[in-house]
Symmetry: C2
Subunit: 240 residues, 2 copies
Amino acid sequence: MSKRGESKSLSADVYSRIREEIYNGTLAPGSRLQPSVLGERYNASTTVIREALALLAGERLVQSRTGQGFFIPMINKDELVDLTTVLCHVEGLALRMSMERGGLEWESSLIAAHHRLARTPRRTEKNPDRYSQDWSNAHKEFHATLLGACDVPLLLDMCQQLMLATELYRVWVSPLVTHNKRDYAGEHAALLEAVLAGEADRAVSLLNEHARTTANMIIENWPEDTEAMIADGIAKYGVE
Amino acid sequence: MSKRGESKSLSADVYSRIREEIYNGTLAPGSRLQPSVLGERYNASTTVIREALALLAGERLVQSRTGQGFFIPMINKDELVDLTTVLCHVEGLALRMSMERGGLEWESSLIAAHHRLARTPRRTEKNPDRYSQDWSNAHKEFHATLLGACDVPLLLDMCQQLMLATELYRVWVSPLVTHNKRDYAGEHAALLEAVLAGEADRAVSLLNEHARTTANMIIENWPEDTEAMIADGIAKYGVE
DNA sequence: GGGGTCAATTACTTCGAGAATATTTATTCT
DNA sequence: AGAATAAATATTCTCGAAGTAATTGACCCC
Protein backbone atom coordinates (compact mmCIF):
# COMPACT_ATOMS: atom_id res chain seq x y z
CA MET A 1 0.00 0.00 0.00
CA SER A 2 0.79 3.68 0.06
CA LYS A 3 2.35 3.65 -3.37
CA ARG A 4 4.03 6.84 -4.39
CA GLY A 5 2.05 9.00 -6.77
CA GLU A 6 3.25 10.29 -10.11
CA SER A 7 3.57 13.91 -9.04
CA LYS A 8 6.50 16.16 -9.76
CA SER A 9 7.89 16.39 -6.25
CA LEU A 10 7.31 14.30 -3.18
CA SER A 11 6.38 17.39 -1.24
CA ALA A 12 3.72 18.42 -3.73
CA ASP A 13 2.47 14.88 -3.80
CA VAL A 14 2.04 14.71 -0.04
CA TYR A 15 0.45 18.13 -0.15
CA SER A 16 -2.35 17.05 -2.46
CA ARG A 17 -2.86 13.77 -0.65
CA ILE A 18 -3.33 15.50 2.69
CA ARG A 19 -5.59 18.05 1.06
CA GLU A 20 -7.57 15.20 -0.43
CA GLU A 21 -7.93 13.46 2.90
CA ILE A 22 -9.02 16.64 4.61
CA TYR A 23 -12.14 17.01 2.56
CA ASN A 24 -12.59 13.34 2.08
CA GLY A 25 -13.58 13.26 5.68
CA THR A 26 -10.68 10.99 6.53
CA LEU A 27 -9.12 13.64 8.74
CA ALA A 28 -11.55 14.96 11.33
CA PRO A 29 -11.86 18.60 12.42
CA GLY A 30 -9.76 19.25 15.49
CA SER A 31 -7.55 16.24 14.96
CA ARG A 32 -3.80 16.47 15.16
CA LEU A 33 -1.65 16.22 12.08
CA GLN A 34 1.54 14.70 13.36
CA PRO A 35 4.40 14.73 10.89
CA SER A 36 5.64 11.44 12.28
CA VAL A 37 2.43 9.46 11.73
CA LEU A 38 1.67 11.11 8.39
CA GLY A 39 5.23 10.46 7.38
CA GLU A 40 4.78 6.79 8.04
CA ARG A 41 1.52 6.69 6.14
CA TYR A 42 2.98 8.38 3.08
CA ASN A 43 6.50 6.96 3.33
CA ALA A 44 8.04 10.38 3.56
CA SER A 45 10.26 12.19 5.97
CA THR A 46 8.89 14.56 8.57
CA THR A 47 10.49 17.49 6.78
CA VAL A 48 8.45 16.80 3.68
CA ILE A 49 5.25 16.59 5.68
CA ARG A 50 6.07 19.83 7.45
CA GLU A 51 6.54 21.61 4.17
CA ALA A 52 3.22 20.32 2.86
CA LEU A 53 1.49 21.33 6.09
CA ALA A 54 3.07 24.77 5.99
CA LEU A 55 1.66 25.20 2.49
CA LEU A 56 -1.79 24.15 3.67
CA ALA A 57 -1.47 26.45 6.67
CA GLY A 58 -0.87 29.35 4.29
CA GLU A 59 -4.18 28.49 2.64
CA ARG A 60 -5.81 28.28 6.08
CA LEU A 61 -6.77 24.68 5.49
CA VAL A 62 -4.82 23.59 8.51
CA GLN A 63 -4.00 25.50 11.65
CA SER A 64 -0.52 25.73 13.10
CA ARG A 65 0.12 26.40 16.77
CA THR A 66 3.74 27.12 17.54
CA GLY A 67 5.30 24.36 19.55
CA GLN A 68 2.20 22.18 19.36
CA GLY A 69 2.16 21.13 15.75
CA PHE A 70 -0.58 21.24 13.16
CA PHE A 71 -4.32 20.73 13.49
CA ILE A 72 -7.40 20.58 11.36
CA PRO A 73 -9.47 23.66 12.22
CA MET A 74 -12.55 23.16 14.34
CA ILE A 75 -15.90 23.93 12.73
CA ASN A 76 -18.77 25.98 14.13
CA LYS A 77 -22.13 27.14 12.91
CA ASP A 78 -21.60 30.90 12.91
CA GLU A 79 -18.50 30.59 10.83
CA LEU A 80 -20.40 28.67 8.18
CA VAL A 81 -22.93 31.48 7.93
CA ASP A 82 -20.23 34.10 7.51
CA LEU A 83 -18.36 31.87 5.12
CA THR A 84 -21.42 31.53 2.94
CA THR A 85 -21.99 35.28 2.92
CA VAL A 86 -18.45 35.89 1.74
CA LEU A 87 -18.69 33.07 -0.77
CA CYS A 88 -21.85 34.52 -2.29
CA HIS A 89 -20.28 37.93 -2.76
CA VAL A 90 -16.99 36.71 -4.14
CA GLU A 91 -18.62 34.12 -6.34
CA GLY A 92 -21.05 36.74 -7.57
CA LEU A 93 -18.24 39.03 -8.59
CA ALA A 94 -16.42 36.21 -10.34
CA LEU A 95 -19.53 35.23 -12.25
CA ARG A 96 -20.20 38.78 -13.41
CA MET A 97 -16.64 39.20 -14.61
CA SER A 98 -16.76 35.78 -16.22
CA MET A 99 -19.91 36.68 -18.13
CA GLU A 100 -18.42 39.94 -19.26
CA ARG A 101 -15.18 38.46 -20.43
CA GLY A 102 -16.19 35.00 -21.60
CA GLY A 103 -16.76 34.62 -25.31
CA LEU A 104 -18.34 32.01 -27.54
CA GLU A 105 -15.62 29.53 -26.69
CA TRP A 106 -16.47 29.83 -23.02
CA GLU A 107 -20.20 29.43 -23.57
CA SER A 108 -19.56 26.28 -25.53
CA SER A 109 -17.41 24.70 -22.87
CA LEU A 110 -19.94 25.70 -20.23
CA ILE A 111 -22.71 23.95 -22.13
CA ALA A 112 -20.45 20.95 -22.48
CA ALA A 113 -19.68 20.91 -18.77
CA HIS A 114 -23.36 21.22 -17.96
CA HIS A 115 -24.26 18.39 -20.25
CA ARG A 116 -21.63 16.18 -18.68
CA LEU A 117 -22.98 17.02 -15.25
CA ALA A 118 -26.59 16.42 -16.24
CA ARG A 119 -25.77 13.01 -17.66
CA THR A 120 -23.70 11.82 -14.72
CA PRO A 121 -25.73 9.94 -12.09
CA ARG A 122 -25.58 11.47 -8.64
CA ARG A 123 -25.61 8.14 -6.88
CA THR A 124 -24.41 4.66 -7.71
CA GLU A 125 -25.91 1.38 -6.59
CA LYS A 126 -22.72 0.45 -4.83
CA ASN A 127 -22.69 3.43 -2.49
CA PRO A 128 -26.14 5.04 -2.52
CA ASP A 129 -25.51 7.16 0.58
CA ARG A 130 -22.85 9.38 -0.94
CA TYR A 131 -22.49 11.47 -4.01
CA SER A 132 -20.62 9.53 -6.66
CA GLN A 133 -17.08 10.60 -7.36
CA ASP A 134 -17.91 11.19 -11.01
CA TRP A 135 -20.81 13.46 -10.20
CA SER A 136 -18.78 15.33 -7.64
CA ASN A 137 -16.04 15.96 -10.17
CA ALA A 138 -18.48 16.99 -12.88
CA HIS A 139 -20.15 19.36 -10.43
CA LYS A 140 -16.86 20.88 -9.50
CA GLU A 141 -15.89 21.32 -13.14
CA PHE A 142 -19.18 22.97 -14.01
CA HIS A 143 -18.67 25.56 -11.32
CA ALA A 144 -15.03 26.03 -12.23
CA THR A 145 -15.92 26.61 -15.87
CA LEU A 146 -18.70 28.98 -14.87
CA LEU A 147 -16.35 31.31 -13.05
CA GLY A 148 -13.18 30.53 -14.98
CA ALA A 149 -13.59 33.13 -17.71
CA CYS A 150 -13.12 35.99 -15.26
CA ASP A 151 -9.44 35.21 -15.70
CA VAL A 152 -8.31 36.46 -12.31
CA PRO A 153 -6.32 33.67 -10.67
CA LEU A 154 -6.50 35.31 -7.27
CA LEU A 155 -10.28 35.60 -7.38
CA LEU A 156 -10.66 32.02 -8.54
CA ASP A 157 -8.42 30.86 -5.73
CA MET A 158 -10.59 32.67 -3.23
CA CYS A 159 -13.72 31.04 -4.63
CA GLN A 160 -12.14 27.63 -4.55
CA GLN A 161 -10.90 28.10 -1.03
CA LEU A 162 -14.31 29.21 0.18
CA MET A 163 -16.11 26.39 -1.58
CA LEU A 164 -13.66 23.93 -0.15
CA ALA A 165 -14.30 25.23 3.35
CA THR A 166 -18.04 24.87 2.84
CA GLU A 167 -17.56 21.40 1.43
CA LEU A 168 -15.70 20.49 4.59
CA TYR A 169 -18.74 21.39 6.65
CA ARG A 170 -20.99 19.34 4.42
CA VAL A 171 -18.80 16.30 4.74
CA TRP A 172 -18.75 16.45 8.52
CA VAL A 173 -22.22 17.65 9.38
CA SER A 174 -24.38 15.90 6.85
CA PRO A 175 -22.45 13.28 4.94
CA LEU A 176 -25.67 11.55 3.98
CA VAL A 177 -27.35 14.44 2.25
CA THR A 178 -27.98 12.57 -0.94
CA HIS A 179 -31.42 11.73 0.37
CA ASN A 180 -32.85 15.19 0.00
CA LYS A 181 -35.50 16.57 -2.26
CA ARG A 182 -33.24 19.12 -3.79
CA ASP A 183 -33.55 19.63 -7.53
CA TYR A 184 -29.95 19.95 -8.53
CA ALA A 185 -30.66 19.42 -12.20
CA GLY A 186 -33.22 22.19 -12.21
CA GLU A 187 -30.95 24.60 -10.35
CA HIS A 188 -28.09 24.02 -12.74
CA ALA A 189 -30.27 24.23 -15.82
CA ALA A 190 -31.79 27.53 -14.69
CA LEU A 191 -28.35 28.89 -13.94
CA LEU A 192 -27.04 27.89 -17.35
CA GLU A 193 -30.05 29.43 -19.03
CA ALA A 194 -29.63 32.75 -17.24
CA VAL A 195 -25.93 32.85 -18.08
CA LEU A 196 -26.51 32.14 -21.76
CA ALA A 197 -29.26 34.76 -21.82
CA GLY A 198 -26.71 37.24 -20.52
CA GLU A 199 -28.80 38.13 -17.49
CA ALA A 200 -26.09 38.67 -14.93
CA ASP A 201 -28.33 39.71 -12.04
CA ARG A 202 -30.50 36.65 -12.35
CA ALA A 203 -27.54 34.34 -12.82
CA VAL A 204 -25.82 35.70 -9.74
CA SER A 205 -28.92 35.39 -7.57
CA LEU A 206 -29.43 31.83 -8.76
CA LEU A 207 -25.81 30.98 -7.97
CA ASN A 208 -26.13 32.60 -4.55
CA GLU A 209 -29.29 30.69 -3.85
CA HIS A 210 -27.46 27.53 -4.82
CA ALA A 211 -24.77 28.24 -2.22
CA ARG A 212 -27.23 29.32 0.44
CA THR A 213 -29.36 26.22 -0.03
CA THR A 214 -26.32 24.06 0.60
CA ALA A 215 -25.50 26.04 3.73
CA ASN A 216 -29.07 25.91 5.02
CA MET A 217 -29.18 22.18 4.48
CA ILE A 218 -26.10 21.82 6.62
CA ILE A 219 -27.38 24.14 9.34
CA GLU A 220 -30.71 22.32 9.55
CA ASN A 221 -28.88 19.07 10.16
CA TRP A 222 -26.58 20.65 12.72
CA PRO A 223 -26.41 18.54 15.87
CA GLU A 224 -26.52 19.99 19.37
CA ASP A 225 -23.16 18.59 20.27
CA THR A 226 -20.48 19.20 17.66
CA GLU A 227 -17.93 16.98 19.33
CA ALA A 228 -20.33 14.08 19.46
CA MET A 229 -21.06 14.59 15.78
CA ILE A 230 -17.41 14.47 14.92
CA ALA A 231 -16.92 11.36 17.04
CA ASP A 232 -19.88 9.87 15.22
CA GLY A 233 -18.34 10.77 11.90
CA ILE A 234 -15.06 9.24 12.90
CA ALA A 235 -16.88 6.04 13.84
CA LYS A 236 -18.53 6.03 10.41
CA TYR A 237 -15.35 6.65 8.53
CA GLY A 238 -13.33 4.35 10.73
CA VAL A 239 -10.32 6.51 11.42
CA GLU A 240 -8.31 6.44 14.57
CA MET B 1 24.50 41.82 12.41
CA SER B 2 21.48 39.68 11.62
CA LYS B 3 20.55 39.31 15.23
CA ARG B 4 17.87 36.81 15.95
CA GLY B 5 14.43 38.29 16.62
CA GLU B 6 12.33 37.58 19.68
CA SER B 7 9.72 35.50 17.91
CA LYS B 8 8.38 32.20 19.12
CA SER B 9 10.01 29.98 16.53
CA LEU B 10 12.87 30.51 14.16
CA SER B 11 10.67 29.55 11.27
CA ALA B 12 8.02 32.12 12.14
CA ASP B 13 10.73 34.68 12.61
CA VAL B 14 12.20 34.09 9.19
CA TYR B 15 8.71 34.10 7.75
CA SER B 16 7.92 37.58 8.95
CA ARG B 17 11.33 38.90 8.00
CA ILE B 18 10.98 37.69 4.44
CA ARG B 19 7.44 39.03 4.32
CA GLU B 20 8.74 42.34 5.57
CA GLU B 21 11.48 42.49 2.95
CA ILE B 22 9.05 41.66 0.20
CA TYR B 23 7.00 44.77 0.67
CA ASN B 24 9.85 46.81 1.88
CA GLY B 25 11.07 46.74 -1.66
CA THR B 26 14.23 44.93 -0.63
CA LEU B 27 13.27 41.85 -2.62
CA ALA B 28 12.45 42.73 -6.20
CA PRO B 29 9.62 41.19 -8.26
CA GLY B 30 10.89 38.28 -10.29
CA SER B 31 13.95 37.70 -8.16
CA ARG B 32 14.94 34.29 -6.94
CA LEU B 33 14.59 33.33 -3.30
CA GLN B 34 17.35 30.81 -2.78
CA PRO B 35 17.19 28.96 0.53
CA SER B 36 20.98 28.86 0.68
CA VAL B 37 21.36 32.63 0.23
CA LEU B 38 18.53 33.54 2.58
CA GLY B 39 19.75 30.97 5.06
CA GLU B 40 23.09 32.69 5.26
CA ARG B 41 21.49 36.09 5.65
CA TYR B 42 19.25 34.97 8.50
CA ASN B 43 21.60 32.44 10.05
CA ALA B 44 19.16 29.62 9.57
CA SER B 45 19.16 26.26 7.89
CA THR B 46 17.69 25.74 4.44
CA THR B 47 14.88 23.68 5.94
CA VAL B 48 13.67 26.63 7.97
CA ILE B 49 13.74 28.91 4.96
CA ARG B 50 11.88 26.37 2.88
CA GLU B 51 9.15 26.15 5.47
CA ALA B 52 8.79 29.92 5.65
CA LEU B 53 8.69 30.11 1.86
CA ALA B 54 6.10 27.35 1.69
CA LEU B 55 3.94 29.34 4.07
CA LEU B 56 4.31 32.45 1.95
CA ALA B 57 3.60 30.41 -1.15
CA GLY B 58 0.31 29.32 0.39
CA GLU B 59 -0.58 32.98 0.75
CA ARG B 60 0.49 33.55 -2.86
CA LEU B 61 3.08 36.07 -1.76
CA VAL B 62 5.81 34.02 -3.35
CA GLN B 63 5.64 31.69 -6.30
CA SER B 64 6.99 28.17 -6.24
CA ARG B 65 8.06 26.38 -9.43
CA THR B 66 8.79 22.72 -8.88
CA GLY B 67 12.45 21.95 -9.32
CA GLN B 68 13.36 25.59 -9.75
CA GLY B 69 12.80 26.98 -6.32
CA PHE B 70 10.90 30.04 -5.15
CA PHE B 71 10.40 33.42 -6.79
CA ILE B 72 8.79 36.74 -6.10
CA PRO B 73 5.85 37.04 -8.48
CA MET B 74 6.22 39.38 -11.44
CA ILE B 75 3.93 42.40 -11.58
CA ASN B 76 1.88 43.65 -14.50
CA LYS B 77 -0.62 46.39 -15.11
CA ASP B 78 -3.71 44.33 -15.91
CA GLU B 79 -3.34 42.36 -12.75
CA LEU B 80 -3.34 45.52 -10.69
CA VAL B 81 -6.63 46.57 -12.26
CA ASP B 82 -8.25 43.23 -11.50
CA LEU B 83 -6.73 43.23 -8.05
CA THR B 84 -8.26 46.60 -7.30
CA THR B 85 -11.67 45.49 -8.52
CA VAL B 86 -11.60 42.48 -6.23
CA LEU B 87 -10.27 44.58 -3.37
CA CYS B 88 -13.09 47.09 -3.72
CA HIS B 89 -15.73 44.40 -3.58
CA VAL B 90 -14.24 42.43 -0.72
CA GLU B 91 -13.41 45.56 1.25
CA GLY B 92 -16.91 46.86 0.63
CA LEU B 93 -18.45 43.71 2.04
CA ALA B 94 -16.17 43.82 5.06
CA LEU B 95 -17.06 47.46 5.75
CA ARG B 96 -20.79 46.79 5.52
CA MET B 97 -20.56 43.87 7.91
CA SER B 98 -18.30 45.87 10.18
CA MET B 99 -20.81 48.72 10.32
CA GLU B 100 -23.65 46.33 11.05
CA ARG B 101 -21.84 44.48 13.77
CA GLY B 102 -19.66 47.15 15.31
CA GLY B 103 -21.04 48.80 18.43
CA LEU B 104 -20.15 51.86 20.43
CA GLU B 105 -16.85 50.35 21.48
CA TRP B 106 -15.88 49.99 17.85
CA GLU B 107 -16.90 53.53 16.92
CA SER B 108 -14.78 54.86 19.75
CA SER B 109 -11.69 52.95 18.72
CA LEU B 110 -12.26 54.01 15.12
CA ILE B 111 -12.36 57.67 16.12
CA ALA B 112 -9.23 57.10 18.16
CA ALA B 113 -7.46 55.48 15.24
CA HIS B 114 -8.49 58.31 12.95
CA HIS B 115 -7.27 60.90 15.36
CA ARG B 116 -3.93 59.17 15.67
CA LEU B 117 -3.68 59.04 11.88
CA ALA B 118 -4.66 62.68 11.44
CA ARG B 119 -2.05 63.84 13.94
CA THR B 120 0.79 61.78 12.54
CA PRO B 121 2.88 63.64 9.93
CA ARG B 122 3.01 61.91 6.57
CA ARG B 123 6.60 62.92 5.93
CA THR B 124 9.59 63.61 8.06
CA GLU B 125 12.41 66.05 7.35
CA LYS B 126 14.91 63.24 7.38
CA ASN B 127 13.32 61.28 4.54
CA PRO B 128 10.87 63.56 2.73
CA ASP B 129 10.52 61.26 -0.30
CA ARG B 130 8.80 58.43 1.50
CA TYR B 131 5.87 57.99 3.78
CA SER B 132 7.02 57.94 7.36
CA GLN B 133 6.89 54.61 9.13
CA ASP B 134 4.63 56.04 11.81
CA TRP B 135 2.12 57.36 9.31
CA SER B 136 2.19 54.11 7.39
CA ASN B 137 1.43 52.16 10.55
CA ALA B 138 -1.31 54.54 11.64
CA HIS B 139 -2.84 54.32 8.18
CA LYS B 140 -2.76 50.55 8.29
CA GLU B 141 -4.33 50.52 11.74
CA PHE B 142 -7.12 52.88 10.73
CA HIS B 143 -8.10 50.61 7.88
CA ALA B 144 -7.76 47.50 10.02
CA THR B 145 -10.02 49.01 12.69
CA LEU B 146 -12.49 50.12 10.06
CA LEU B 147 -13.03 46.58 8.77
CA GLY B 148 -12.18 44.69 11.96
CA ALA B 149 -15.66 44.67 13.49
CA CYS B 150 -16.96 42.36 10.76
CA ASP B 151 -15.35 39.67 12.85
CA VAL B 152 -14.71 37.24 10.00
CA PRO B 153 -11.04 36.29 10.10
CA LEU B 154 -11.12 34.83 6.63
CA LEU B 155 -12.55 37.99 5.13
CA LEU B 156 -10.06 40.17 6.96
CA ASP B 157 -7.24 37.97 5.73
CA MET B 158 -8.44 38.41 2.18
CA CYS B 159 -8.54 42.18 2.56
CA GLN B 160 -5.10 42.26 4.05
CA GLN B 161 -3.69 40.03 1.35
CA LEU B 162 -5.20 42.19 -1.37
CA MET B 163 -4.01 45.44 0.19
CA LEU B 164 -0.58 43.97 0.60
CA ALA B 165 -0.48 43.03 -3.06
CA THR B 166 -1.48 46.56 -4.04
CA GLU B 167 1.09 47.99 -1.68
CA LEU B 168 3.70 45.90 -3.44
CA TYR B 169 2.85 47.61 -6.72
CA ARG B 170 3.04 51.03 -5.12
CA VAL B 171 6.46 50.33 -3.71
CA TRP B 172 7.86 49.20 -7.02
CA VAL B 173 6.13 51.47 -9.49
CA SER B 174 5.97 54.76 -7.68
CA PRO B 175 7.99 54.74 -4.50
CA LEU B 176 8.10 58.52 -4.53
CA VAL B 177 4.39 59.21 -4.50
CA THR B 178 4.48 61.41 -1.47
CA HIS B 179 4.70 64.43 -3.77
CA ASN B 180 1.12 64.26 -4.96
CA LYS B 181 -1.78 66.54 -4.45
CA ARG B 182 -3.91 63.92 -2.85
CA ASP B 183 -5.97 64.99 0.13
CA TYR B 184 -5.54 62.00 2.39
CA ALA B 185 -6.81 63.82 5.45
CA GLY B 186 -9.98 64.84 3.66
CA GLU B 187 -10.60 61.35 2.33
CA HIS B 188 -10.20 59.77 5.73
CA ALA B 189 -12.33 62.40 7.48
CA ALA B 190 -15.15 61.98 4.98
CA LEU B 191 -14.97 58.23 5.36
CA LEU B 192 -15.13 58.45 9.12
CA GLU B 193 -18.04 60.83 8.96
CA ALA B 194 -20.05 58.54 6.66
CA VAL B 195 -19.34 55.55 8.88
CA LEU B 196 -20.43 57.34 12.04
CA ALA B 197 -23.54 58.60 10.27
CA GLY B 198 -24.36 54.97 9.49
CA GLU B 199 -24.52 55.59 5.77
CA ALA B 200 -23.11 52.33 4.48
CA ASP B 201 -23.49 53.04 0.77
CA ARG B 202 -21.65 56.33 0.99
CA ALA B 203 -18.95 54.88 3.22
CA VAL B 204 -18.34 51.99 0.85
CA SER B 205 -18.14 54.21 -2.19
CA LEU B 206 -15.70 56.50 -0.39
CA LEU B 207 -13.56 53.54 0.60
CA ASN B 208 -13.65 52.21 -2.94
CA GLU B 209 -12.67 55.56 -4.34
CA HIS B 210 -9.80 55.60 -1.88
CA ALA B 211 -8.52 52.28 -3.25
CA ARG B 212 -9.13 53.22 -6.88
CA THR B 213 -7.28 56.52 -6.49
CA THR B 214 -4.25 54.65 -5.21
CA ALA B 215 -4.43 52.23 -8.15
CA ASN B 216 -4.85 55.02 -10.69
CA MET B 217 -1.90 56.87 -9.25
CA ILE B 218 0.22 53.80 -9.79
CA ILE B 219 -1.07 53.18 -13.28
CA GLU B 220 -0.42 56.78 -14.33
CA ASN B 221 3.18 56.42 -13.27
CA TRP B 222 3.55 53.08 -15.00
CA PRO B 223 6.71 52.98 -17.11
CA GLU B 224 6.86 51.51 -20.61
CA ASP B 225 9.43 48.95 -19.63
CA THR B 226 8.63 47.09 -16.45
CA GLU B 227 12.00 45.36 -16.28
CA ALA B 228 13.83 48.65 -16.55
CA MET B 229 11.66 50.04 -13.78
CA ILE B 230 12.52 47.15 -11.52
CA ALA B 231 16.20 47.51 -12.34
CA ASP B 232 15.85 51.17 -11.52
CA GLY B 233 14.17 50.30 -8.26
CA ILE B 234 16.89 47.84 -7.41
CA ALA B 235 19.49 50.52 -8.07
CA LYS B 236 17.64 52.85 -5.72
CA TYR B 237 17.32 50.30 -2.98
CA GLY B 238 20.80 49.00 -3.52
CA VAL B 239 20.15 45.27 -3.52
CA GLU B 240 22.06 42.71 -5.47
C1' DG C 1 -8.61 14.18 48.79
C1' DG C 2 -7.21 18.19 45.93
C1' DG C 3 -3.53 20.95 44.13
C1' DG C 4 1.09 21.89 42.85
C1' DT C 5 5.87 20.66 41.57
C1' DC C 6 9.22 17.96 39.35
C1' DA C 7 10.92 14.49 36.45
C1' DA C 8 10.29 11.41 32.46
C1' DT C 9 8.49 11.01 28.11
C1' DT C 10 6.83 12.42 23.99
C1' DA C 11 6.77 15.17 19.98
C1' DC C 12 7.88 19.43 17.63
C1' DT C 13 11.64 22.02 15.58
C1' DT C 14 16.10 22.54 13.50
C1' DC C 15 20.18 21.03 11.37
C1' DG C 16 23.73 19.81 7.69
C1' DA C 17 24.82 16.43 4.47
C1' DG C 18 23.53 13.26 0.59
C1' DA C 19 20.56 12.12 -3.53
C1' DA C 20 17.90 13.87 -7.29
C1' DT C 21 17.00 17.36 -10.59
C1' DA C 22 17.56 21.46 -13.44
C1' DT C 23 20.76 24.67 -15.76
C1' DT C 24 24.92 25.88 -17.99
C1' DT C 25 28.89 24.99 -20.57
C1' DA C 26 31.57 22.35 -23.72
C1' DT C 27 31.76 19.21 -27.47
C1' DT C 28 30.44 16.82 -31.62
C1' DC C 29 27.96 16.20 -35.80
C1' DT C 30 25.49 17.84 -39.92
C1' DA D 1 28.66 27.99 -38.62
C1' DG D 2 24.47 26.32 -36.29
C1' DA D 3 22.01 22.89 -33.89
C1' DA D 4 21.80 18.95 -31.14
C1' DT D 5 23.88 16.09 -27.75
C1' DA D 6 26.62 15.15 -23.64
C1' DA D 7 29.42 16.33 -19.61
C1' DA D 8 29.89 19.48 -15.74
C1' DT D 9 28.09 22.46 -12.38
C1' DA D 10 24.94 24.47 -9.39
C1' DT D 11 20.74 24.18 -6.80
C1' DT D 12 16.93 22.08 -5.13
C1' DC D 13 14.76 18.38 -2.65
C1' DT D 14 14.89 14.78 0.77
C1' DC D 15 16.48 12.41 4.65
C1' DG D 16 17.38 10.77 9.56
C1' DA D 17 19.13 12.34 13.66
C1' DA D 18 20.17 15.83 17.29
C1' DG D 19 18.31 19.63 20.03
C1' DT D 20 14.61 21.87 22.33
C1' DA D 21 10.10 22.74 23.99
C1' DA D 22 5.63 20.89 25.65
C1' DT D 23 2.79 17.28 27.78
C1' DT D 24 1.90 13.50 30.83
C1' DG D 25 2.13 11.08 35.06
C1' DA D 26 3.90 10.36 39.47
C1' DC D 27 4.91 12.05 43.80
C1' DC D 28 4.72 15.06 47.70
C1' DC D 29 2.69 18.58 50.40
C1' DC D 30 -1.22 20.99 52.17
